[in-house]
């Protein structure tokens, strides 16, 4: 009962906030609606028992990806009102793409329920592989059966890291306020100060 109520609440909020993402005039508001959609999707994931996926949605999507989206929206100096002018013109194309995606989803779920894909139980009920929590089941599969894919994910993350630095990092030479802490610590009074005894009427050579 309460699960059904919670499901309809989360699902309705996901759809409503997804509609607001494309309807909001201000792109920053769009990103905020997207964050609300992520939160509700996490709620749906909790309802089907995928707690780790729910936590991942919050940690990665809300915590990092949405912030990145905000950055991109704020950094690009684009007149979004002008972009939006093509909304009516591109509407049929958008509908066509949405239909293709929906058809793929229906075919995928159909094949899954027909039992052609051996992903687990054909009824789609979340079935833990072991008598353990969802997180432990994911770990047991990911780090034993799919080790090479996991290492490939590590390589991809490395490539992303290097790519971000190559694309955006500009090394600025002789920047002001560059502080070399080890040089400061290494200084001692003998080489940092000099004693001078200037004669009367003469200056000091520095």
């Amino acid at each position: 009962m309460i699960q059904t109520l919670a499901f309809y609440l989360f699902a309705a909020l996901v759809i409503a906030s997804a509609v607001m993402v494309i309807m909001a005039r201000n792109p920053v508001h769009s990103v905020l609606w997207l964050i609300l959609a992520f939160f509700n999707a996490a709620g749906l994931m909790v309802l089907v028992g995928a707690e780790f996926i729910a936590a991942l949605l919050l940690i990665v999507y809300v915590g990092a990806v949405a912030v990145l989206f905000l950055f991109v929206v704020m950094m690009l100096d684009i007149d979004f009102a002008e972009l939006r002018a093509g909304f009516v013109k591109n509407f049929p194309l958008g509908i066509a793409i949405a239909l293709v995606l929906a058809a793929e989803l229906i075919f995928g779920i159909g094949a899954y329920q027909a039992g052609q894909l051996e992903l687990g139980v054909a009824s789609g009920v979340a079935a833990p592989a072991l008598d353990a929590s969802n997180t432990a089941s994911i770990g047991a599969v990911l780090y034993r059966d799919y080790v090479f894919l996991f290492e490939a994910a590590g390589i991809i993350l490395l490539v992303a890291m290097v790519g971000a630095i190559v694309l955006t990092h500009r090394r600025t030479e002789n920047a002001r306020g560059q502080q070399d802490i080890s040089r400061q610590v290494r200084r001692n009074p003998d080489e940092a100060t000099v004693m001078k005894q200037p004669e009367v009427g003469r200056g000091v050579d520095l």
Partner: protein, 124 residues
Amino acid sequence: MVDLEQYLPILIFLFVAAALSALFVFLPMGVSRLTGAHKPDAEKLSEYECGFPAFEDPRSQFDVKFYLVAISFLLFDLEASFLFPWAVSLEYTGWTGWSAMVIFLGILAVGLAYEWKMGALDWQ
């Protein structure tokens, strides 16, 4: 369907947090309304922020360094989230899983060393 009863304490905490934050917002407003003179005018109600206009176009161009920091955060965030299922499933994966994670962390340590060497972590 998952047993939702284990989420009841979180729900209770959420309600307590919402009630407390509402109290922090509305109690001072109510107290000041009841005890002080309430004569608003346009200048009093206008926002004041050190002489700058408080609202302007948010799409000002800013330094790309912020983006680099955000993307590094995203990558290391992902790396850390891979650690959670690994840590709770070590009894099933054993040394295979352990060494897989060590290799994974090694790959990303190479990335961290590269970032450090390129000076991407310096803020100047």
